[in-house]
């Protein structure tokens, strides 16, 4: 019985940690304009919605008893909440994707040509880097279309094949956008 409840509290604690529920994520912000000889102030406290009014938030009260009501009438109090956990998770996801893309970009532009040159020699480098302009024969394209049914059982070959196709696509896109200025002026 006791181990069961302690296990549950552990789980709850872990869950809370994961979500990073922060009691600081709510606040009540009261803006009080200048009154007589008191300057304009901003007061913040993390109280819930029902307590979000001048009397609970403005501490210490700068004016005396009978002026409190007049002072509080001018103050505007607003309840705000945010989710800091969401912000943290989002930024971390974004930065990790950005980092991965940067690494891949460095690999594609610098590391891979160096590796290929070292492994395969100069001649094959030219062949693999050449722009695949595509046959001018219309029937060769149809040949391409219909030969997709060949399925290579090897996983690595498939990945390599897909990557080659993707790179050809990107090269074509790059040519039409950057070189020929045909699309997307």
């Amino acid at each position: 019985w006791t181990s069961d409840t302690s296990f549950k509290t552990e789980l709850l604690g872990l869950y809370g940690l994961l979500i990073c529920y922060n009691s600081e994520d709510i606040r009540c912000k009261c803006i009080c304009p200048p009154y007589r000889d008191v300057e304009g102030q901003i007061y913040k406290q993390n109280v819930s919605l029902k307590d979000c009014n001048c009397l609970h938030v403005v501490e210490p009260m700068p004016v005396d008893g009978k002026d409190v009501e007049a002072y509080c009438l001018r103050c505007e109090c607003k309840y705000e909440e945010r989710s800091s956990g969401t912000i943290k998770v989002t930024i971390i996801i974004y930065l990790s994707i950005l980092g991965l893309l940067l690494l891949y970009m460095v690999y594609l532009t610098m590391v891979e040509p160096m590796l290929k040159r070292r492994l395969f020699g100069h001649s094959q480098l030219i062949q693999s880097d050449d722009d695949v302009v595509g046959d001018q024969q219309p029937f060769a394209n149809a040949h391409n279309v219909l030969s997709r049914s060949h399925s290579r059982p090897n996983m690595l070959n498939k990945v390599e094949h897909a990557q080659q196709r993707w790179r050809r696509q990107v090269q074509e896109q790059r040519k039409s956008v950057f070189d020929r200025h045909v699309v997307l002026s």
């Binding site: 600081e24 606040r27 803006i31 304009p33 200048p34 007589r36 000889d37 300057e39 304009g40 102030q41 901003i42 007061y43 913040k44 993390n46 001018r74 505007e76 705000e80 909440e81 945010r82 989710s83 800091s84 969401t86 912000i87 943290k88 989002t90 930024i91 971390i92 996801i93 974004y94 994707i97 950005l98 893309l101 940067l102 970009m105 594609l108 302009v133 595509g134 001018q136 024969q137 219309p138 029937f139 060769a140 394209n141 149809a142 279309v145 219909l146 997709r148 993707w166 696509q169 990107v170 074509e172 896109q173 790059r174 956008v177 950057f178 200025h181 045909v182 699309v183 997307l184 002026s185």
Partner: protein, 795 residues
């Protein structure tokens, strides 16, 4: 036939490297067209015999940079629907499949809305954070931007509300001191450094991974929705790179917004999800319904304006907008707005970016400055369109465009260097707009309101709100004027860079600045001359008469309307953005004025102008064709051209057919009965013919170069020793659209627009005479408008 410049059109044989052509079975076209041809018994036998033949994989798909055939796609969809409905009663499984088919539309749209909302939340949060990264870091929690970092701090004095101990500017971190000329220079330097590195990263990512991710995206989406195919434009890599680099581009301080790219992002989501459902992945017309709904979701999350998003999709982006799409768009916008709200990026549970909280009434005499703001908006819109198109044209045709990375870095450097000293341009453009829209309240932060929040011992602020302007306001006005000029100039060079760039926020900023200047001027006028007739009628001394924030709002709407020429959707977006429902009439007045003034200088908005610049085959539904030419003036072949390339229905051999295809570059060929009679049988597309011949070569035995090709139902009589003939009837379109040569071009253009045709055959006395294609019509319209007809590039 369409004459392509064979040298300038290598797209035709090479399949742009786009998605693979699905090899699954597609419904045959022969059966549809036999039925629509109005046959009785003949059609049923055709149907039966066609059923025995195998469908050819790959037929019915389109090449990259070509236009789809709307009629064919719609027929295919109806056929599929009929088939599913007829099998519905057979078993429970079939019934479930029919239910799934009916509901798959809603499912796609829901998924699209969810994905768009989630991505928009990610972009908003990341952009806010990275923007403040140029200023400094939050030491206690690195993922917070300036506002979030100081959220819980307890500084009570108004003057210190922005300085909390956890937020450190770069000068403080590096030099150790927060004030002084040294730290100013250090801040300046770090600002420029971060701006340049963000811009450089953005353009590198775009160039290496997804070149289609640059620009706004709305002109290309408009063209895609009218039936054009750009493979890869709405793909996975484009989506990812556009999302990531949009954040970087916005954070680098360039004069751009993220609304247009968000529409592109949403359409990418729509396209990707539509591939999960065969109903949408195989039919290009149905896919465009999903894309219309997705663009509504995109605008909805960009502005927090779901209804405005639907109207934007209707008015600006979509080409065909049936009632079903209206419902789907509404639903997509709703789901996306809901997801964004639950992510809650702005910390105030509101979607609305620029919420205005004043409800002071506006007076009739204020319509004059509102209309003046409308005129300003129209003038600026016309000027911007001309300047931007001229600059983009220069970028396209001269050596300027050879160095995109350098160009982006240069523009980012100039922007950062000029923007830092002026506090109005240093901050995020959205924050600037918010500050300009907000009217002066009890404790106002901006310099613009200094004369309001002046307190002097016992004089409380309510005594005389219309104060004479303090020096603070004059310096603010100077800075605002400089900011206006700066933004006007930089946006011209920024829109069209090779990073994702939108136009809405910069135009709204320009309008808001102009509006606020006019508003403050009016306010001062009301104060100094409160005994004039106008002000005496409506303005009491001591009452808050003029709200400059309202002028800023009206100015923003006018400038946005002047550049995009939107009307209803713009008014709805602006009042959904601001919550100011009382101000619909001034908004409408300003938007109408700016549209009229802008149209006086040129009928196109910025997106249509970019479409024309790129030569996309977009037949604008808003323009009217008013010339009196006839079909025979536009059709091809003209007098000087070679004769029409036709195929006879059972005379050709495979070798001759291949020769025709290799020697010409036309997209399709009419099929006639015989050369003597010239009577029309149908129309065959080049791509379908090539695929069919290749397929026959592999699958069927005995097809040789001198085999006869026949498009008829039954093979022609051949001598006994001839090789096996090739039947190509299944790829023939038996119901091509025809007009006579005396049909007025107004009617022909109307037919093309309403039906979404690609080509139309011209007959004379029942005999085939020529062909009109969409490209010919666009060239003809360009010629009639004295523009360069050779600029139409695609077909």
């Amino acid at each position: 036939m369409e004459e392509e410049d064979a040298a300038a059109d290598p797209y035709l044989p090479y399949d742009g490297g786009g998605d693979t052509i699905p090899l699954q079975e597609i419904p045959r076209r022969g059966s549809n067209y036999a039925m629509s041809n109005g046959g009785g018994a003949a059609s049923s036998t055709t149907h039966l015999l066609d059923f025995l033949e195998e469908p050819i994989p790959g037929v019915g798909t389109y090449d990259d940079f070509h236009t789809i055939d709307w009629v064919r796609e719609k027929c295919k969809d109806r056929e599929r629907h009929r088939k599913i409905n007829s099998k519905k009663k057979e078993s429970a499984w079939e019934f479930t499949k029919s239910l799934y088919d009916a509901w798959s539309g809603w499912l796609v749209v829901t998924l699209t809305g969810l994905a768009s909302g989630a991505l928009a939340g990610l972009i908003d949060i990341a952009a806010d954070w990275m923007n403040d990264l140029k200023e400094g870091v939050c030491l206690s929690a690195m993922w917070f931007n300036h506002e979030q970092c100081c959220w819980t701090s307890n500084e009570t004095t108004f003057a210190e509300r922005d300085k909390c101990p956890q937020w450190k500017s770069w000068a403080e971190l590096i030099l150790g001191q927060a004030e002084g000329p040294g730290s100013y220079i250090m801040n300046y330097f770090m600002y420029i450094y971060w701006a340049l590195s963000f811009a450089f990263l953005a353009v590198c990512l775009v160039k290496v991974f997804a070149p289609y991710a640059c620009g706004s995206g709305i002109p290309e989406i408009k063209t895609i929705l009218s039936g054009f195919i750009i493979r890869g434009y709405l793909g996975k890599w484009t989506l990812m790179i556009k999302t990531i680099t949009l954040v970087l581009a916005v954070a680098s301080g360039l004069s751009l917004g993220k609304e247009g790219p968000l529409v592109h992002v949403a359409c990418c989501c729509g396209n990707i999800f539509s591939y999960l459902f065969p109903k949408y992945s195989k039919n290009e017309a149905k896919k465009r319904e999903v894309l219309s709904a997705a663009s509504a979701a995109g605008v909805s999350v960009a502005f927090g304006a779901p209804i405005g998003g639907v109207l934007f999709s209707l008015e600006e982006v979509s080409y065909y907008f049936p009632l079903k799409t209206l419902w789907r768009s509404f639903f997509a916008a709703l789901v996306a707005a809901f997801v964004l709200r639950s992510i809650n990026p702005f910390g105030n549970s509101r979607l609305v970016l620029f919420y205005v909280e004043y409800h002071t009434p506006w007076y009739l005499f204020e319509l004059i400055p509102f209309i003046l703001l409308g005129v300003f908006g129209g003038l600026w819109g016309a000027f911007f369109i001309r300047a931007n198109i001229a600059w983009c044209r220069r970028r396209k045709s001269t050596r300027f465009g050879k160095y995109p990375v350098l160009e982006v870095i240069l523009v980012a450097a100039i922007t950062a260097v000029v923007a830092f000293p002026n506090p109005y341009t240093r901050q995020n453009t959205s924050e600037l707009i918010k500050e300009l829209f907000t009217d002066c309240g009890p404790l106002e932060s901006s310099q613009l309101c200094q004369y309001r929040s002046q307190m002097n011992g016992s004089t409380a602020y309510t005594d005389n709100p219309n104060q004479p302007a303090e020096p603070g306001v004059y310096s603010a006005m100077w800075q605002l004027c400089l900011a206006l000029i700066f933004k006007i100039i930089m946006t011209i060079f920024t829109f069209g860079l090779k990073v994702p760039s939108g136009l809405f926020i910069p135009s709204m900023a320009i309008g808001a600045i102009a509006g606020r200047i006019v508003g403050i001027a009016m306010e001062q006028l009301a104060y100094y001359h409160h005994d004039w007739f106008l002000f005496k009628e409506w303005c009491e001394v001591g009452a808050d008469c003029i709200t400059p924030g309202l002028y800023a709002m009206v100015g923003a709407a006018a400038c946005l309307g002047g550049v995009t020429r939107m009307t209803v959707s713009l008014v709805v977006i602006v009042f959904e953005l601001t919550g100011g429902l009382e101000y619909i009439v001034p908004l409408m007045a300003a938007v109408m004025t700016s549209k009229w003034v802008g149209d006086a200088f040129g009928r196109e908005g910025i997106y249509e102008a970019h479409i024309r610049l790129n030569g996309y085959p977009f037949l604008d539904a808003k323009e009217e064709f008013t010339h009196t030419t006839l079909a025979r003036d536009v059709m091809r072949p003209r007098n000087s051209d070679p004769p029409l390339a036709v195929l006879t229905q059972d005379d050709l051999t495979v070798e001759e057919l291949q020769a025709v295809i290799n020697e010409t570059s036309y997209n399709g060929f009419p099929v006639i009965v015989s050369k003597e009679s010239q009577r029309l049988v149908g129309f065959a597309l080049r791509r379908d013919i090539t695929i069919a011949i290749e397929n026959a070569r592999r699958k069927q035995e005995g097809i040789m170069l001198n085999s006869r090709v026949y498009f008829t139902q039954h093979a022609p009589t051949l001598p006994a020793d001839s090789p096996r003939p090739l039947k190509l009837r299944s790829i023939l379109d038996m119901s091509p659209f025809t007009v006579t040569d005396h049909t007025p071009m107004e009617i022909v253009v109307d037919i093309f627009r309403k039906l979404g045709l690609r080509q139309c055959l011209v007959t004379h006395n029942g005999r085939l005479l020529g062909i009109i294609t969409k490209k010919d019509i666009l060239r003809h319209m360009a010629q009639m408008a004295d523009q360069d007809p050779e600029s139409i590039m695609f077909n």
